[in-house]
Subunit: 423 residues, 2 copies
Amino acid sequence: MPTAQVPAGYRILDPKSLLALIGDLNDVRALIAGRPEEWQVREVGDGNLNLVFIVEGPRGSICVKQALPYVRAAGPSWPMALDRAFFENSYYRAVAPYVGELIPKVYHYDAELYCTVMERLSPHIILRHGLIAGRRYPNLARDMGQFVARSCFFTSDCAQPFEHKFDGISLFAGNKALIRISVDLIFTDPYLVSERNRHTSPQLDDVVSDFRCDGPLKVAAAQFGQKFLSQTQALLHGDLHTGSVMVTDSDTRVIDPEFAFYGPIGFDLGAFFGNLMLNWYSQPGHATPRDDRAAHQEWLLEQAKIFWTTFRSSFLALWSEHAQGDAFPAAMFSSPGDAPALKSARSAFVDSLFADMLGFSACKMIRRIVGFAHVADFDGIQDAPLRGDCEAGALAMARLLLTHPEQFHSIDDVLGAVPRSGR
Amino acid sequence: MPTAQVPAGYRILDPKSLLALIGDLNDVRALIAGRPEEWQVREVGDGNLNLVFIVEGPRGSICVKQALPYVRAAGPSWPMALDRAFFENSYYRAVAPYVGELIPKVYHYDAELYCTVMERLSPHIILRHGLIAGRRYPNLARDMGQFVARSCFFTSDCAQPFEHKFDGISLFAGNKALIRISVDLIFTDPYLVSERNRHTSPQLDDVVSDFRCDGPLKVAAAQFGQKFLSQTQALLHGDLHTGSVMVTDSDTRVIDPEFAFYGPIGFDLGAFFGNLMLNWYSQPGHATPRDDRAAHQEWLLEQAKIFWTTFRSSFLALWSEHAQGDAFPAAMFSSPGDAPALKSARSAFVDSLFADMLGFSACKMIRRIVGFAHVADFDGIQDAPLRGDCEAGALAMARLLLTHPEQFHSIDDVLGAVPRSGR
């Protein structure tokens, strides 16, 4: 059984060594105030891969995230590349100029310890938990549409000379350990019989075995898998589900970009969109006598629409203002007569992202129901037959998106289909 | 005016230092035989960027290619990254296991001198010159179809786990100086008024100014330019025109892969295909009273067809036998019922390469007629009005390919259109 190899200089932080580390960072000390001996340290990580500490002092608090060299749930027998912390930090740095207000502030990155000292988001909660609880966030969809538009536009060939993008591609192509996880868990395993998979059984047994011998469905998923690996449109977050977003009533922050790499923009769009859909399909499982969640479902569909339309209009607006890249070079389209053709070409490009969003969202929905890593939206439904019904609705929708993309030309086409397949 | 910066250890080779270098390579010495003092050294480079020496001795001869730190025609005032020699060597090494018999043998690469000691190809000549002279090469089209199929298939996600490809992407993303040349000279400058451009004037003045205000044409070219920068389907040669192929009656060798990078497979296909087309359109300019070149044109069209059909059948055959990559993972399609869907998906992928081949070939044709670097096929036609006629035919065909791709579903659609637009 392999055990994790760690580089010299790496050690797993404990409260004592953590305080020593922070005590040396003058800016952070000033922010927390007081003396390290007075600070309170709590380990709050609930994910699979990292330690997360909160350090609190008289005036403020910070968050410290350290990569572990193995999968936390499995222990040292399942090693996991530490350098994901490096890629996470690299992503934050790359997109901060464009979406700085939508990510946490990073105070310090320690390359030897693979640990990031960053803003503590408080009183933020994980968006997924808020949506499961039926809460609404008025700025969320617009913030997220802006986030994807800005982070992707400014790292794409639309905005930058390709040399800058190629430097980024070269760097992030190293994030292979985490990309391997995406390749296997999103695009392969769900369509196979694999020990890593699970599903609500026996309720979904038939539909799952049906999926695994549905040639056209598997082909469609595989085509998106191929696109995932062979398009370098922009720097992606790489795991932009509702568990990677922290919110208050008015603030939205994107976290955990450790899966970052250069890929197809539709993959980030689809992650968020697909997870809104998953939450929609899970709502009957969270209904109470006082709230059947129908109004929350309506709200969710509105947010899905706002997310897409904000992305679309923001991306196109940025392109009008900042066309400094090698894609459709501004100098080639400088005569007034070029404007209509250029405008329609840009629209066509964004339309292709819409189609990609739907396909990738479907892949994401499927993997969360029949693959290894599930979502609390469904897992929190104790009643298995009810959970199975909710999940079956989401699977039906995902299958339709993958096998009949010609039915979905606009966001309204999608939203119109949701209740039909889900109820 | 900038002058070329060269790394420590680099020096421009002359016959004396060249002999000292080779004299230290035991294998190469044995191949040439005799003593260095007896060897004959000739500098034969006729390109813009490199020194090329032939070293001959009693038993054999070798070729030495050294990158110069500037554009040879312009001198030290136009610097040019030396590391293209490194990327050329890296390409040869990467594809040698798959197409070893279609590239020169590489005996030695000197990382400090940016120079490659390789097989001397003799009595080979540059394919372009042979085609201009109206010669025929019975194996050429099949060899080149095989070359692109094998070099691209085995470096793609069809054949390899993505980790290997991502390592390659990371490496070749460094070849920015030469990729910049392609971006500017192929996808941008031809559609602008630029000092670097030239065309047969005044014969083509109208058509060229017409091109530069043709919105849909420019959009189509720009879409292929965007694809060039954002698809990493396979490791490409990057400059696969008929000047990068050396031939005898029976042997075919691909040389000069210094533009290598991970890009869309259609770019390599289109380079070769487009240059066959250029040669076709140039033939009236090379007709003699004894030979109107009509038969040679027929032969060229047959070769274009054999090139594509060989590529297509080879790529699909390789995919049936060596599906060890992450694209369409074999394990996902292992049940007998999957076969039809998988087969049709693979065909659809190859069809997409056909469409890309046509689009990229059109971009290549245009840049060779209205851009910076022209081809001997046309430049060798002294009679300007005749040359202009030939070039106008090629431009019309290229424009049709870019603006009406829906007319070209099969190779026969293309070949049927060639004579109509060219005569």
